[in-house]
């Protein structure tokens, strides 16, 4: 069974937010909320600067604290791609998962349940990339099976230096950022 993840090339990403807008329309994300977002990180002092731009979202962690803390099993690891998903009509809206996520990836949907990136499973099942990946004008995002040694994501991880977000949290995130 697959284990989906993303590899994002920060050298190519320009932070245009297309991924964010695409997610909004594809998934009818309620206004004023977002399932993905852009972080820019600037290091240094003028004029010696280094900047990394990242498209961030739920990391679909291998070791997901949000799933562990959920009292109802609404937050769960889906066998399909081992992705982290929320079953809305099981969620009681206790918000423990929001507090448990070190990435701030979740929010409370205006209808009351915890919501977040689904890796666009409905698209992936049709053989498509997630919406954010499919619209990216820089083609900096890659989606695929981390368990398949021949996948594009693994090829990229083998070819470049990369980092994940807050590895010290021990969550084993599955979005990899190429340096």
């Amino acid at each position: 069974m697959a284990r989906f993840g993303m590899v994002i090339d920060t050298r190519k990403c320009v932070g245009c937010m297309d991924c964010v807008v695409a997610c909004q329309t594809e998934n009818d994300v309620p206004q004023g909320h977002c399932r993905d977002w852009i972080v820019t990180e600037v290091r240094g002092t003028y004029p010696t600067l280094e900047m990394e731009i990242r498209s961030e979202r739920c990391n679909h962690c291998d070791n997901p604290p949000c799933v562990y803390c959920c009292p109802t099993g609404a937050s769960h690891v889906e066998p399909f791609g081992k992705t982290v998903q929320v079953t809305a009509n099981r969620c009681i809206g206790c918000k423990a998962c929001l507090a448990a996520c070190p990435y701030g990836a979740r929010f409370v949907h205006p209808e009351g349940y915890a919501d977040k990136c689904t890796f666009c499973l409905h698209r992936v099942k049709e053989g498509k990339d997630p919406a954010c990946v499919s619209v990216c004008p820089t083609r900096c995002m890659h989606f695929g099976d981390l368990d398949d040694p021949k996948s594009e994501v693994n090829r990229l991880l083998g070819s470049r230096k990369w980092h994940t977000l807050l590895p010290e949290a021990g969550t084993k995130p599955r979005i990899f950022y190429l340096d």
């Binding site: 803390c69 206790c94 918000k95 929010f107 009351g112």
Partner: protein, 347 residues
């Protein structure tokens, strides 16, 4: 220099996590206090079962009070839920890794234990109930055998400890919040719960002095609400015992609090930053003022003076302890949400 900007702007998540307002602190405070009351009640029941202190009521009858307070705590919890109509989903499953799932089931069992414990000497507390519903009297008699009382006592103590620790573990299981992410939170909340419980019972004794209860059904029911402890005044020494216990609990709480901070300030950058929120940050006045001074140090001093007969017994220390116990939950819940794992400035 590190400049981080994000386009994320989710309500209650940005710029800082703020998903829990007053409801969860209220729930955790009542949960901890009830846990403490269960433990105190359990100890009293053991003594009753051994035949000691047959007249003691201060803890034997507190399950009734606990039961009522439990409803307040649960109401607060319910108010916090964002998807209220789905609350039943908690009891369709048991999630072994989820403190909240454990807590939900522990609460359910605690409810049962409190209900069963409330039957102990219910005829004394609420005579109208036993008279109106003879079954209550029979059930009350059934639980009052020494062996059953002992069983009930151990259940109270065991689940009391479980509930008390759970209220802390609920927060400490969150890796994302360095301020919470310490196992000391479990015993800290347990001992804070115990001190609050002792204060609450002490307060109850003061507020509800024994008096003959109205006997009619309506009058009796109302009276029971106002007077959940029973008709007889406590024995001499009972108050002193409570105060002594409270001083002990507060002392342990103070040590645990110190250990919590020590653990944080001697750990990594995120933990140090988290500790600073309490020590010198936005919550420092509440932490030092309301929790450490007014909630622990001052009541210890006052109660020691009371025990030494330097000053008369008053409800002031009990009220301070209760306020301090709530402040502890409120500050930790809010400051903890403000704490986060920091990104390192260099890579």
């Amino acid at each position: 220099m590190l400049e981080i900007t994000t386009t994320r702007h989710n309500p209650f998540v940005d710029p800082q996590l703020a998903v829990w307002g007053w409801e969860i602190p209220v729930y955790l405070f009542f949960g901890g206090m009830i846990a403490g009351m269960m433990i105190l009640a359990g100890i009293a029941m053991l003594r009753v079962a051994r035949g000691e202190d047959p007249e003691s009521f201060f803890s034997v009858q507190t399950p009734l009070l606990g039961f009522m307070l439990m409803n307040v705590g649960m109401a607060a919890l319910f108010l916090d839920l964002a998807h209220k109509l789905y609350v039943w989903a908690v009891y369709l499953t048991f999630e072994a890794l989820s403190p909240m799932s454990w807590g939900s089931w522990v609460l359910l069992v605690a409810y049962g234990i409190l209900m069963a414990s409330a039957l102990v000497r219910i005829g004394d507390s609420w005579p109208w109930l036993a008279r109106t519903f003879p079954i209550v009297g029979r059930l009350s008699a059934a639980v009052e055998t020494p062996s059953r009382l002992r069983l009930l006592a151990f259940a109270n103590i065991g689940f009391g400890i479980g509930l008390g620790i759970y209220t802390g573990i609920l927060l400490s299981a969150m890796v994302a919040r360095p301020l919470w992410n310490s196992a000391i939170l479990g015993p800290l909340f347990l001992f804070s719960g115990l001190s609050a419980a002792a204060a609450m019972v002490h307060l109850a004794i003061r507020i509800f002095p024994g008096r003959p209860a109205p006997q009619g059904m309506v009058g009796g029911a109302f009276a029971a609400m106002w007077q959940p402890l029973g008709p007889r005044a406590p024995r001499a020494g009972t108050e002193n015992a409570l105060v002594r216990a409270d001083v002990g609990f507060l002392g342990v709480e103070l040590v645990l609090l110190a250990l919590l901070l020590l653990g944080l300030v001697t750990a990594g950058a995120s933990q140090i930053a988290a500790a600073q929120i309490l020590i010198s940050g936005a919550y420092a006045p509440a932490f030092w003022g309301a929790i450490v001074f007014a909630g622990i140090v001052l009541p210890i001093a006052l109660q020691l003076l009371e025990l030494g007969h330097r000053i008369p017994h008053t409800v002031v220390p009990a009220l301070l302890v209760l306020a301090g116990g709530f402040a502890l939950r409120w500050v930790l819940v809010n400051a903890g949400q403000a704490s986060q794992i920091l990104q390192s400035a260099s890579r």
